[in-house]
Amino acid sequence: MATQITRLLMERKEKLLQIWMEGQVSELSLRLDRMTSQDLYRQSKEFVDAFVAAVASGNVEDLNRHEWEPVRRMLVQISVSRSHQGFSPTETANYIFSLKEVLIRLIQSELNNQIDVFVQEFIPLSRVLDKLGLITFDSYTRAREEIIIRQQQEMLELSTPVIRVWDGILALPLIGTLDSGRTQVIMENLLRGIQDTNSDVAILDISGVPTVDTLVAQHIMKTVSAARLMGAECIISGIRPEIAQTIVQLGVDLSMVKTRASLAGALRLAYEMRKLTVVPAGKG
């Protein structure tokens, strides 16, 4: 069913693209550092082609049908790349909504007096464009969430490095608040480190941990026990005066664990345990 609007769209595709581009460029003038106008033009041309082809198929009801598949795929791709490029949600959704505005203006100027045709034929098209806008928003949000989840994981990994201090000696500087999610990662990293590097001494440095409560202490004890089961011994270092006091006040029994006030002390102990001595140069 080639309606008037469909015919109009097919005939005026070039003009539609041109007006849309002008609108987008003036709106995005500040954002052109994120993508070039050539890229935008290419993207928009492909999209208009796909959109007009889909409208020409006659189906402006069901976006899940295969005629709309290229349009949907393209739109998802555009939204994902915009979310990566740092565009705001509004800017991304406006990509579709600005097309709608351009369409209205174009159709209005071409179908001057035929209000009934305009209403009858434009409403389904408008609904389609709204749905496309929702797809944009949906895929934008999803892409953003993926970024956030990935960053969270990276932060978890970054904040718990396992350092090989010497042959058979590992150090784990713990920084920031220890919640159960992080302590799990810490334990897994430490145990993997012990296995990979064949180390039998591990230093857990808690200088960068702001507070120690019973839960944190319990997690540390668990980590120490697990390391012991694998055959490695743990030293806990960086116990500041306040933390030492809290631990005692909480009634946490760390007497089974080797503890030192500073990382230097822990290193000294670790060297002793591995029967190593550090000698000043020249006195060998």
Binding site: E188, D200, R228, L229, G231
Partner: protein, 131 residues
Amino acid sequence: MQRIPILKMGPFLLVTIQVDLHDRLVMALQDDLTNMVSKTGARGVLIDISSLDMVDSFIGRMLGGIAAVTRLMDAQTVVVGMQPAVAITMVELGLDLPGVLTALNVERGMELLRSRLGLVREMAHDIDTKA
């Protein structure tokens, strides 16, 4: 019935677990080990569980039990090569095997047993006299 082989190496017994442990098998292992300790008068038992990737509470408890029984018979048990995942499970189950010696691998486990039993000097002496 399937059995886990127990090898005698000097004053030590070496057990390498290569199959999935189930309850009957561990109980049989405990029997065999205690008999073997009494027969050979072994001073140390080394259990290598590096190929074990799953442990339930029963098997965990049995490992502790084996260590306790052999200690009564004057043999020190060392468990070596526990996988990280197994260690985490054991700790979560509250089985941290107090009193059981542990080591990273068979080699370190042997060293540990020797030093525990005061055999280091004899060994060193052996090497010295041979050299």
